[in-house]
Symmetry: C2
Subunit: 328 residues, 2 copies
Amino acid sequence: MKEVTLGVDIGGTNTAFGFVDREGNCLAEGNISTGKHKDITLFFDELTEKIKHVQHAMDKNIKVRGIGIGAPNGNYYHGTIEYAPNLPWKGVIAISMLFKERFDLPAYVTNDANAAAIGEMLYGAAKQMKDFVLITLGTGVGSGIVSNGQLIYGHDGFGGELGHTIIEENGRDCACGRSGCLETYASATGIVRTATMKLEETSQSSVLREVEPADLSGKMITEAALEGDALALDVFDYTAQKLGLSLANTVAITSPEAIILFGGLAKAGNLLIHPVSKYMEANLFSVFKGKVKLLSSGLQEQNAAILGASALAWQELKKEHYNAVQSS
Amino acid sequence: MKEVTLGVDIGGTNTAFGFVDREGNCLAEGNISTGKHKDITLFFDELTEKIKHVQHAMDKNIKVRGIGIGAPNGNYYHGTIEYAPNLPWKGVIAISMLFKERFDLPAYVTNDANAAAIGEMLYGAAKQMKDFVLITLGTGVGSGIVSNGQLIYGHDGFGGELGHTIIEENGRDCACGRSGCLETYASATGIVRTATMKLEETSQSSVLREVEPADLSGKMITEAALEGDALALDVFDYTAQKLGLSLANTVAITSPEAIILFGGLAKAGNLLIHPVSKYMEANLFSVFKGKVKLLSSGLQEQNAAILGASALAWQELKKEHYNAVQSS
């Protein structure tokens, strides 16, 4: 009998799921559209039908032990998704209860960055680490921070919002209603804002001038930089300055063994890691200098979010087993 | 038989110690000069003699269970004091081993801010809390951050250096060799720098103009503000702006239930707490607004550092007892 957990990654556009064993192998997977369902009940009906379909096609010797869910604004303590701006459903969704009832299995939820952090700890770049920071550089910036081997959920379950630390007083307007958040500089949308700024402020030649401003994307800027475009490289340097200082400040708070870059913008690899490392080191308090590794995600890119959600379930099942042994 | 731990607070000027029971009552105490001993052996000889003298004068029914030591640059993992700039001894001092050998008791060390945080958790303002931040506003700025009921020591034992996060790029020169650290604004010395700046930049009348610039102290500025001196109040407002933003960013990372202000400058009470609270709330990410308590230390002022060091010992003894039960 092989044991797996079901990992579910609920995103603004798509919801993907997979059955994952203890070693992080994804044995079967599937996905549905999130965006087309304004009604959570219809979404959940389609999702469970698809999951059960994929499950029935698997080897009958496979036993599902539990369900982990990664979702924007997922609250671990409450088992809910709360006021997620990028999902079609408003208010508070009791997502883990929905899964528990439909599948008769334990179900756990956390936000996508926290799920990714647990994924790195179980299957990826943070194996054996007890203190590390994972930062997701996607459409927004999220983070999962692990200290003493445990995620920092904080008092209300919303710890680890590095993307919404203010790094520039009176800086760029942020979707959260404030200004100067790290997210406005170090996300895929932030890097587009920086490129637009550089294109307007300078007369430097660049392949990016051939693109309609509204069509500019993080991917285009990354490709231009990889080909040596000087303006695109300046954009990365500027981004790295902001991110490097912010990470140096985070190190002073949690003293991690490593910082793991995750998500769309992190695919730029050394194009981002080298300058971020330079600016982080330059800003580190002396006791931390030269000690903190800056790493790329160790999860298989395609399934990273599913692996993270599945890892959450493995971790929670282990905790429950431990507590049961303690009280017996 | 009453049980106590010995709490030792090693400071740049004085070293104080006390025997403290589980409820936080200090049954006997004493202190010696730190500064006069350039040689750690002579310092330690005088300290142990004084401790044994005080111990012998106590009720014979009191049993000492262990020793907790709070010291600048105290490293919990190594049991050492490492390169403390404000202590007379250079390099790495194996302080917990010295105590263990001389007293034949378990001995533990951490930095003074971490010790204060454990003290608040056991005896003070953070009883029953599992997630909080303690910030010491003294000659420097230190912090002890508790998440999931445990201190964040981080990978190398130096976590929680909030005073050395950079809050102003190219800001004030810091003793650490960098510039713009929170410590240069929110410490007793930082507030003197702010007052000096305001006295030079404005022609506002103030009782502080009657003081020789070199004699200006945090205490004087606090007293002037308490008497309604407008310039001194401006100094507090400026300090609160810097500290409030920094605390708002810290909340986004660790999501604490409360932030506890500790140390010399914290004695200003509501003179500091009210404006810090205002600026912190203004800068908080929406999910945290109105949720985080800002508190003054709940430890008896005179013995706060001794209580913290003693609490460290109680906490470690409890951990060791728990581990012994687990493995039996």
